[in-house]
């Protein structure tokens, strides 16, 4: 089946025009097989997992745990015990900021992040640093060479790729330096997981997080992977439900990994959908998307007054730009009337916007379902912006 035909949403009209969805970096549209997997759970074997002894619960548990194995293979994790389901990247990082910090941070420790972080991998560490009297340090933009890690540097928490610019952090060099300092490393793969093959063992990181909805899976699903011996030392994040082993009024024994970090009834339909999304993703052809990104670059640069940001050869399939002096929100409103959905604003990366000297950007991000016609529609719409703003 033609890939676009697998995405029912692409059939709808927006303001009377064909939908051109160029906001995949915010959330990817879902293929029919993912929608169908979620529907099947709700309609055919809806039951709670890990506790029922009846047929439905058994099936739900099997499908749920099968998704965990899918994630394990997707990131080359050594064991399913190390795969924790969360509600998304943000919850995964908040879990770490709570439990990792409690277990490992001491006053005076350094937590390092990069300049490219979105708010979800910045604010939790900013708060943890304040609470535990640690120092939050930032690797400068375009930094090359040695990072000035101090003797108390404890954690490097960095994004694989920028959600705002699409550019990649030099992870292998950074991780090697962090490891030489005895630090732990968290990789935020929210933007990268869908486009870059992830191998946590080859990367040599200690934690890796990403969201289901950016890899063509459902919203409200996410992953925290961590090394078993570290997760073992960390206290639980939330209490109740599956995360206990035995409870007395006086004391509680917590469950083993991964249940220890999975309190309450999880997003079962979502996790099953995520497993299906990963199965779907691995048989797709990703090369066309790289070619489309380069086509988009050429076409965008043909628009007078358009200025690209993060123009590097190896990057995520997205382009951020400004057009003359037209504010990104005005651009977004105008192209929306042409059926073109893009992102405009600070992209949840306000400190990066400050470093770039801009208040907002326009971002067009591509998915496996996009075509050259979609790029052409964007460029046509940008010419409409120029007509309206006479620029």
């Amino acid at each position: 089946m033609d890939i676009a035909q697998q995405f029912p949403l692409l059939n709808r009209l927006v303001h009377g025009r064909r939908l051109v969805y160029l906001d995949t970096a915010a959330t990817a549209l879902k293929p029919l097989c993912v929608i169908e997997a979620e529907r099947a759970y709700e309609q055919e074997f809806c039951a709670n997992v890990h506790r029922g002894v009846h047929a439905l619960s058994e099936q739900a548990t099997r499908e749920f745990e099968s998704a965990r194995s899918e994630v394990q293979h997707f990131i080359q994790a050594p064991s399913t015990q190390e795969i924790i389901f969360t509600s998304g990247t943000t919850e995964s990082i908040n879990l770490l900021a709570h439990s990792y910090s409690k277990a490992f941070l001491k006053p005076g420790d350094e937590i390092w992040i990069s300049s490219l972080e979105h708010h979800s991998n910045l604010v939790p560490w900013q708060m943890a640093a304040k609470y535990y009297h640690c120092h939050l340090k930032v690797i400068p933009l375009d930094h090359v060479g040695e990072i000035p890690f101090g003797p108390t540097a404890r954690l490097l928490a960095v994004t694989y790729a920028s959600n705002a610019l699409g550019v990649l952090n030099p992870l292998s060099s950074w991780i090697a330096q962090a490891k030489a300092h005895g630090m732990q490393v968290l990789i935020d793969a929210a933007q990268a997981a869908v486009h870059v093959p992830i191998d946590v063992q080859a990367l040599g990181c200690d934690f890796l997080v990403f969201s289901g909805h950016k890899v063509y899976g459902p919203t409200g699903t996410g992953i925290l992977w961590g090394r078993e011996h570290l997760l073992e030392q960390m206290p639980p994040y939330q209490m109740g439900g599956d995360m206990i082993e035995s409870v007395r009024f006086e004391d509680t024994r917590f469950a083993k990994l991964p249940a220890k970090f999975e309190a309450g009834t999880p997003n079962i339909a979502g996790v099953i959908g995520l497993g299906e999304a990963l199965r779907w993703l691995k048989v797709q052809n990703h090369e066309a998307l790289t070619a489309l990104t380069q086509y988009a670059r050429e076409q965008l640069l043909s628009v007078p007054g358009l200025r690209l940001f993060g123009d590097q050869p190896h990057k995520m399939p997205l382009w951020s730009f400004l057009l003359s002096d037209v504010h990104p929100h005005d651009i977004s409103s105008i192209v929306d009337r042409e059926g073109v959905a893009i992102r405009a604003g600070h992209l949840c990366a306000q400190p990066l916007m400050q470093l770039l000297g801009v208040s907002a950007l326009v971002r067009a991000s591509f998915g496996l379902y996009n075509t050259r016609e979609d790029v052409d529609a964007l460029v046509y719409a940008l010419h409409q912006v120029r007509r309206v703003f006479r620029c």
């Binding site: 002096d325 037209v326 504010h327 990104p328 929100h329 005005d330 409103s333 105008i334 009337r337 604003g345 600070h346 306000q350 916007m353 208040s359 907002a360 409409q384 309206v388 703003f389 006479r390």
Partner: protein
């Protein structure tokens, strides 16, 4: 519809805003901020005898928010606080109701096109809410003195 929103008057005001800049000696001021889009606005006022003697604004934002702030300053300068309240009420009605006749609003009626773009209503009202905050801030100070 797009051309209703981005008509010449709006573009002019966004590019060459009236009463733009700092206002030394202001008696009232407030900082307005839309956390979702990052737009920032400062409104400065000189109020004497319950009348807006002078008004200026400063800030970053889209064409709609800048033009709206500029048009607001044109509407409000020289008005009494009572008249300003009526103008704010009429501006609110302009954006939210199918009403085309206004007794007091003059130039800000050019923003009528925002009605068709619900997600942009916040852009158009940021300046007015900041103006209101500037008045309240001073009122709070008065009560504590």
């Amino acid at each position: 519809m797009l051309d209703d929103l981005y008509q010449e008057l709006i573009l002019d005001h966004s590019r060459h805003p009236h009463h733009y800049g700092d206002l030394p000696g202001s008696t009232h001021s407030a900082h307005g901020h839309n956390p979702l889009c990052g737009d920032e606005l400062f409104v400065y006022l000189v109020i004497e005898n319950a009348r807006i003697q002078n008004i200026r604004f400063q800030g970053e934002g889209c064409a709609i928010s800048k033009a709206s702030a500029s048009l607001m300053t044109d509407e409000l300068i020289g008005k009494t606080l009572q008249e300003a309240r009526i103008l704010f009420q009429e501006f609110h009605e302009l954006l939210t109701q199918e009403k085309d006749q206004f007794d007091h609003l003059v130039k800000a009626q050019a923003l009528r096109g925002v009605r068709e773009f619900p997600v942009r209503v916040k852009c158009a009202t940021l300046a007015w809410h900041t103006f209101e905050a500037a008045l309240k801030e001073q009122a709070a100070e008065i009560t504590t003195e």
